[in-house]
Amino acid sequence: MLAALALARYRGRGKGVLETLLSLPLVLPPTAVGLVLLDALGRRSPLGGFLARRGLEVVFTWKAVVLAMAVMSFPLLVRSARTAFEEVDPRLVGLARTLGCGPVAAFRRVTLPLAWRGLLAGVVLAFSRALGEFGATVMIAGNIPGRTQTLALAIFHDNQLGHDDRALALAGVTALLAFAALWTAEWFTRRRARRLVA
């Protein structure tokens, strides 16, 4: 969210490059991103070695799953959050300031409530992306049942082993989760819209 806010308000040089870099995981094949992460965090790399010496093992653990999902869904979150912030009229924020609000209070009382719908949409979008994430996860976290196996990986795994019925059940669970998330977001958004128009 901080990144989105910075992108929405920052107008200086290098903005284009930064934006493109942040969006890169959207366009690259997930396996490529996973490979980069794997090489960067593997025990033989400087960063991975540094973390390992401090007892933080990332690769092929659940932390790697979280990392892969975060990296892959981050651009979606940032993009929609940024649009949401940009749609808030900066003059309203200025007005809040003249009414005695500091920058933080103005953000909390004006920017956030007005950008809220877009932020929620971004979260849902990012969640959906994370739910379906496969390529990067399988590269960096592997497919270890009970440890790093996500729903998406499990479906593939069961299918490969010929357990199509189990794969189908898992697909159903995934669908339910996705439906619940989307429906909740929709419900919030509608309630909000009614209040603004009423």
Binding site: D89, L92, L95, R97, T98, L99, R195, A198
Partner: protein, 351 residues
């Protein structure tokens, strides 16, 4: 007392305003794009590029030379933009009490002054333009500002609504005694509300003075949407409801007939404004003319600029200007002793 010495780079020129303004209402006028709104934003602290000095009743809000620049929240200046700028996600009530210094007493008296008690539970989306302006004014007042900045609060409203909102502005001026910078294009509003006019052109102060003197100069024609060179102070004598006119007595036992203005009670003081373009000139006393108002004047000066011919006249009521359309060959060429100038159409404005 507002001490202004501001410099602010804008897209096409630099805004440079130096002025000392007494309390009361100062009308900020000038052509579109002359920096009026930017001036208000700089005073409110919403323009980071503003340099110079700004003090309000001796309290320094900005002194870039000394490294002082209070953020907007510390300036205690209320700002009402042209479109009211209400927070769409809050009710009118929550808007009014939004301010950090808006205590219950201030909110209650702002609500009372602007008579918005019946609107409080509604969201801005369901308020009319005039209601939004009143809520926005109340929101600013509820913080007990030391200075109020109003950016064309009536511009977005139709004429009938303006007439209804103006009394609220007069109440704010008279009951709250808050100094006001009031951006407007409308000569009538400036006359009705302000004790002085600050005239901006391309970011500079072109003039600062009493509204009546300043607004009755030819240069103002381009500065206001209704260029009005001729102002006559007078008193309503009577309304002719059938004829649809109001008779206004002006000095030297003359009178003006203007479109019916029933809102002004007989005996009340008004200002009649007439554009120079709306005056026609005859070199002999005319007969059978449909014009209602005839003045006998003496031509004091003639200025030609392109196709425009401006006559400065000395009627019995004071100076006057005419920029007649039509046939320039029929206009007087030099000083002529006898020129009746009928006022073809006059527009009545409040005072």
């Amino acid at each position: 007392m507002i001490e202004l010495e501001l410099a602010l780079p804008l897209a096409s020129f630099e805004l440079r305003v130096a002025a000392r303004l007494e309390d009361g209402v100062t009308a900020v006028m000038g052509p579109s794009g002359s920096g009026k709104t930017s001036l208000l934003e700089a005073v409110a602290g919403l323009r980071r590029g503003a340099r110079g000095r700004l003090a309000l009743d001796g309290r320094v809000l900005l002194d870039s030379a000394a490294g002082v620049g209070l953020p907007p929240e510390a300036r205690q200046i209320g700002y009402v933009p042209q479109d009211a700028g209400l927070f769409p996600h809050l009710t009118a009530h929550d808007n009014v009490r939004f301010g950090a210094r808006a205590d219950a007493a201030a909110v209650a008296s702002a609500v009372a002054t602007l008579e918005i008690g019946g609107l409080l539970e509604r969201h801005p989306a369901s308020l009319s333009g005039g209601e939004k302006q009143r809520v926005a004014l109340a929101r600013a007042l509820a913080t007990r500002p030391r200075l109020l900045l109003l950016d064309e609060p009536l511009a977005a409203l139709d004429v009938g609504l303006r007439e209804r909102i103006l009394p609220y502005l007069l109440r704010v001026r008279d009951e709250w005694k808050t100094p006001v910078l009031y951006v407007t294009h409308n000569v009538g509003e400036a006359l009705a509300l302000s004790s002085r006019v600050l005239l901006l052109r391309a970011g500079r102060v072109e003039a600062l003075g009493a509204p009546f003197d300043l607004l009755a100069t030819p240069g103002m024609a381009s500065a206001s949407e209704t260029g009005v060179e001729n102002l006559f102070g007078g008193r309503v004598r009577t309304h002719d409801l059938e004829g649809g006119v109001t008779i206004v007595d002006v000095p030297a036992r003359q009178s003006l007939t203007v479109p019916l203005a029933p809102a002004r009670a007989p005996g009340s003081e008004v200002t009649v404004a007439v554009r120079a373009e709306d005056v026609i000139v005859a070199r002999r006393a005319p007969e059978g003319l449909s014009a209602r108002n005839l003045f006998e004047v003496r031509i004091a000066a003639i200025a030609r600029a392109g196709a425009d011919v401006t006559l400065r006249c000395s009627p019995a009521t004071g100076r006057g200007f005419a920029r007649p359309r039509g046939r320039p060959d029929r206009l007087p060429r030099g000083e002529e002793p006898f020129v009746p100038a009928p006022l073809r159409r006059s527009s009545e404005r409040r005072c």
